[in-house]
Amino acid sequence: MSNPQDVFEQRLAAMRHDYARQLAAELGGIQSLLLTPPAFDDRKRLLQAHQRLHRVAGAAGTFGLPNVSQLAKALETLLQDSLEKRAALTSADTARLSDALEALMCEGGGQSEHALLEQAPSVRDEPKAGWSHASGDEGTRATSIWLIEPDQALGEKIAAQLANFSYSVRRFVNIADAEAAERQPDVLLVDAMAENDADGAIGATALAQGGSPLIFISDQDSFEARVRAAQLNAQGYFLKPLNIPHLVSRLEQLLRERTAAPARVLVIDDDTELAEYCQIILESEGMEVQVLASPETIIEEVRSFRPELLLMDVHMPHYDGPDLAAVIRQFDEWSSLPIVFLSAETDLDKQVDALSRGADDFLTKPITAAKLIAAVKARVSRARALSDLLNKDSLTGLLKHASIKSAATSEINRARRAGYPVSIAMVDIDHFKGVNDSYGHATGDVVIASMATLLRQRLRQTDVMGRYGGEEFLVVMPHCPAEAAYQRLETLRQHFAQLRFRHDTTEFGVTLSAGMVCSEEAPDANGDTLVVLADEALYRAKRGGRNQVCCGGALAD
């Protein structure tokens, strides 16, 4: 793998895949900007859509999607004309815009995602060498883990177990070998003994400097060893014999942090220069930022942009910042949305007043870029951690019952409003009670956690999924027509059936059944009814012999 051309092509393929994955969501966002009533008739939204289309037009071709580029360009040009026109759009104008939008969504939205992924070579949607047999195969397409373990037999065993979770594990017996290897892994798993050897510590640090998180495994549980790991900035310390599900859950957590969605920040300030300054700084850190110059639309803006933090001026011409904070706090769903004031205000009473009326913090102008970034990042990551604790299931890291139900309803409503298809699926592990009875609840938990990991890996970032009941999962796939949803579930089913689980010396496999329905097949159904239809389809799958996917709504046989 030392040929630079090979390295380049692999990394390019990975980037293309990532881009294709997020493109559908980006186009969905642009579509809702344009179609939110009054469709094509809000100058501000048209401008935003125009800018975002410009980016897609400039980028998609580079990532191997020339058709998407061209269609985005065509729509961008039409929007440009409409924006320059200033007069109200005629019905012929809106028809042209609708057509261009539809063409773009067909090419790049959820509808042709399979074709998209064929154009842009997929990292995750191809059969993996490491799925069912425990090879130390250096697949480049799954999450790559480097395991540095001097004990060869043990290394082989750990690699085999990790392969169950579709990680690609490359084994080394010492740090020097790993240092000599090309490329960087996603995670480094290092035996503490290897680290103790001669220059091992320096080696491990140097390896981790490439940006890969470091996890130590060890058979010694001493305070010194743990401090040493902390000093080397290790993200975990696991004792042997390894509890693989725990290790996997830490790995997933690390990988999620690395691929976390960008933070969304809404800046509310009548001083456009300052607002733009904040926008530039935060965007340079990869955050998504919107600026609101007039506070009157704050409720609509918070509802549509769903910011994770509000950055607000204290004094604005017509409304005071603390008043706006109090308005936001009138809505239950935004009671924990962080609100930070940015102001030249140094008057302590004013700050106390703002804090007592719902603000979380004060930043005093002028503020340095580093401080602004640090303050926003810390607030957003704490808000996310808190919301995870409240809403996510501890075993699977997926949404809990109540949260997935409300997330499903809001996704379905959004799809109905914007007029794109959404598919709902219920997925259930077959004969799960038997697994628990035969192998114990600890093994049952491994099966459930694996199901969750697989769901996360095989579905898109824009899909919403949660643990609906004990071994039942609910999945919401926006921009996904029935055929594509069926294909995805079918792939999921096949891969789950290939997983091998172990209990003591016994190896066993488990299957799943799924029921699904697409909003297009049940045009009159609301969110709750769609879930019921998916559940009925699941019941048919179970009755039909399990290990299969059944469709509901108009497609039900």
């Binding site: 630079p4 980028a59 360009k73």
Partner: protein
């Protein structure tokens, strides 16, 4: 002397990543990426680039204003600049070249051939 150091100014992180990869791995160049014109003006002199690639449409300071700012720095006044843009109409290209750019690379670009394209631009300015 051959082309080694390229300063690349682009706000879109996806495009940044793919161009940096293409220029570093295929071309073997040393690439510094700036996410904004402001950052480029602050950091360009220290990097001492031999060629500057500049996105045209960026929030805040756009490509043409960044070019103007760069030209005011004596150390960088003569470093060739190529614009990268998705608005590659002949008239727009003319306007950009009139601002003092050596060339305009249309977006979307092909990551496979970007390095050779950049090398040609640089050679033509030598």
């Amino acid at each position: 002397m051959s082309l080694q150091r390229i300063l690349y100014v682009e706000d879109d992180s996806d495009i940044q990543a793919v161009a940096k990869l293409a220029l570093e791995v295929v071309g073997g160049f040393s690439v510094k990426v700036c996410a904004s014109g402001e950052q480029a003006l602050a950091e360009a002199v220290a990097f001492d680039p031999q060629l500057i690639l500049l996105d045209v449409m960026m929030p805040g300071m756009d490509g043409p204003s960044t070019l103007k700012g760069l030209r005011e720095l004596p150390e960088l006044a003569h470093v060739p600049v190529a614009f990268m843009t998705a608005k590659a109409q002949p008239q727009e290209i003319e306007q950009l070249v009139a601002l003092g750019a050596s060339c305009v690379i249309p977006k979307p670009f092909d990551p496979m051939t970007l390095s050779s394209q950049v090398t040609r631009i640089w050679e033509s300015t030598q």
